[in-house]
Amino acid sequence: MSQLTLNELEAVYDALAEALNQVGTEKESLFLTKLALLLANQLGDQAQVEQAITTASRDL
């Protein structure tokens, strides 16, 4: 699996933060859920998505 370079990761980091600010707290969860579904579909790998769900649930 290819990974993001540091520059790319930083760009995504900024874009996501700005989008969250734009969306506002009321629609934040809906936005993140939509994003997760879109990325999951693009990844096209059920096991990897489930692994990511587990990882994200950790250490909250």
């Binding site: 969860s29 809906l30 859920t33 579904l37 879109l38 579909n41």
Partner: protein
């Protein structure tokens, strides 16, 4: 002294007929023991009675009511239900009135985000789905039963109590002429979701109740739209919830919507609340026509089943046995399959041909069916009426994405009721050629209909018996005919249907043979409920005999 409500129920389109109470022999001091008593004259009780009568069994049907059900209730009947109702003799009457259909639409923010067409091919006599109010179906079943000398309908007779014994069951019945006791070898409880019999026996259902409550409202209105399923998600007037619209005969439309949490059924059915919501939905879809209410009701979505449908001599069927969410038309359509599965097994047992093991497969086959339906229906329910925040977020995310992203749209699939296949049934042959076929109905599946000619289909030729479908280009071998005659001699109802050029069922173009992956000598053994229990590439008389015994619960036979 029980006094049933004999005022015809109000309706803007249906004239209720009263079926008066008549004094039974027991109240004239004549006591008898009946082979089969059915409690409940709803669609399932009546289909069970008519099915049993097809096998020559006499049946008493007890109903607390003196008229058919109030309101349209079950309105969508599947192809499989129509095939079952064809056997009991009411499909033609239904089709004269019903609206057949096959397309469902999901609508969000005024946009149709998903459309699904249920499959239909030229070999089907019946459309995938058929809309008709339950009153008509009940009326046709009642009239069919009234003409049958084997069926005695006892209206206005309320069950007060029931006792179960190892070899019989007893009922206490209250009537306008007083109380009496009724004793029977077998009691079929078809007395609905609030089954008195189930409660009297203290039996618990297993499964889940959903918190959501729904209103069903039938209105008379002129809307010039085709018969299709319409599901509106998250409309402005009822945020977060789903509204269904279905067209019915007689200018009636069904609206079905979820209630806000904490609202009581009384509040929901109060005229001002009901009128405002119905009008809000009509406004949203741009309908300005006047309308009037016919009937309304509140229900909650449940997905529960008894773990066992047979308790000594008491057998549960339909909603008395299980409560299924109505998304996907699973109430009556599942119940018909119960009644049909039960009737031939009980009839064979009463005739002394079937074994107790055969009857026990009613429970094993139908409980598994109910559990599968519950698993499927629960998926639909989670999407139509999300039970909690997590599921609501996901559903809302899918709604939002569905406006532009095709990949989420199949999640709107409405999963309609489908016939169960009994592929794990012990009634299926152990050593046949089931796995070698590349087409045709496999073990446990219902036959697939075949169009034989103008207004002539395979199912038209089936009766209350086992059928051996035998494909041949010459004649059915004498050994097979002799074997079938021997089985008949033992009292087993079985018929041979030869298929091919110049046979019982003419198949000149080999269309039937292709769909069933058959060559000359291929045979399918079909149970009286039209489910396949054995199939062979090249059958022998011995194999037919062994499979027939197996299907009657007599093990592999000789």
């Amino acid at each position: 002294m029980y006094s049933p409500d004999s005022t015809p129920r109000p309706s803007v389109y249906y004239d209720y007929q009263i079926y008066p109470f008549q004094t039974p022999p027991e109240l004239r001091s004549e006591t008898r023991r009946y082979p089969v008593v059915i409690v409940g004259a709803g669609p399932i009780g009546l289909v069970a009675a008519l099915e049993l009568a097809r096998y020559g069994m006499s049946v008493v049907v007890i109903s607390a009511e003196v008229q058919v059900s109030h309101g349209s209730r079950a309105i969508v009947f599947t192809r499989r239900s129509m095939e079952i109702l064809q056997q009991v003799g009411i499909s033609e009457r239904m089709l004269e009135k019903a609206y057949p259909w096959r397309s469902g639409n999901s609508i969000y923010r005024g946009q149709r985000v998903f459309r699904l067409e249920a499959p239909y091919d030229e070999d089907d006599r019946f459309q995938p789905l058929n809309n008709l109010q339950q009153q008509y179906v009940e009326q046709y079943l009642v009239e069919q039963a009234q003409q049958n000398p084997l069926i005695e309908l006892r209206w206005g007779s309320k069950v007060l109590g029931v006792q179960s014994f190892t070899d019989h069951a007893e009922l206490q019945i209250d009537t306008p002429a007083g109380e009496y006791n009724l004793s029977c070898d077998w009691l079929i409880a078809a007395d609905g979701a609030k089954s008195t019999i189930r409660q009297e026996l203290g039996l618990r259902m297993e499964g889940a109740s959903y918190r959501g409550r729904f209103v069903i409202a039938d209105i008379k209105i002129d809307i010039p739209w085709p018969t299709e399923r319409l599901a509106y998600f998250d409309p402005e007037w009822n945020r977060g919830n789903t509204i269904l619209m279905h067209r019915q005969p007689e200018g009636i439309w069904r609206l079905d919507y979820q209630l806000p949490p904490n609202e009581t059924p009384e509040q929901a059915l109060a005229p001002e609340s009901l009128n405002a919501r119905i009008q809000a939905q009509l406004d949203m879809v741009g309908i300005t026509a006047p309308w009037e209410l016919d009937w309304c009701s509140v229900y909650s979505a449940r997905a529960m089943t008894l773990p066992d449908y047979i308790h000594q001599r008491i057998i549960f069927t339909g909603d008395a046995a299980h409560m299924l969410p109505i998304f996907g038309v699973r109430g009556a359509n599942t119940g018909f399959q119960d009644a049909q599965n039960l009737a031939w097994k009980l009839a064979m047992l009463l005739k002394g041909i079937g074994t107790p093991e055969l009857l026990a497969t009613y429970t094993s086959e139908r409980v598994i069916a109910a559990q599968e339906i519950i698993a499927e229906a629960s998926k639909s329910t989670r999407f139509m009426a999300p039970p909690d925040r997590g599921f609501r977020l996901l559903r809302d995310a899918v709604l939002s994405l569905s406006l532009t992203q095709a990949f989420v749209r199949p999640l709107f699939h409405w999963r309609t009721s489908r016939p169960h296949d009994y592929h794990e049934s012990i009634l299926n042959a152990a050593n046949d050629d089931n796995a070698k076929f590349t087409a045709g109905p496999a073990h446990g599946m219902p036959l697939q209909n075949i169009r034989l000619g103008e207004n002539d289909y395979l199912f038209d030729h089936l009766g209350a018996a086992f059928h051996l479908l035998y494909f041949t280009d010459q004649a059915v071998p004498e050994s097979i005919l002799q074997q079938v005659a021997d089985l008949e001699e033992q009292g087993i109802p079985i018929q041979v249907l030869s298929i091919g050029s110049g046979q019982n069922l003419v198949d000149s173009a080999e269309h039937f043979a292709k769909r069933y992956d058959a060559q000359s000598g291929t045979a399918y053994l079909v149970r009286p409920d039209q489910h396949v229990c054995a199939r062979w590439k090249n059958v022998t008389a011995e194999q037919v005999k062994a499979a027939a015994y197996q299907a009657l619960g007599q093990g592999v036979g000789v």
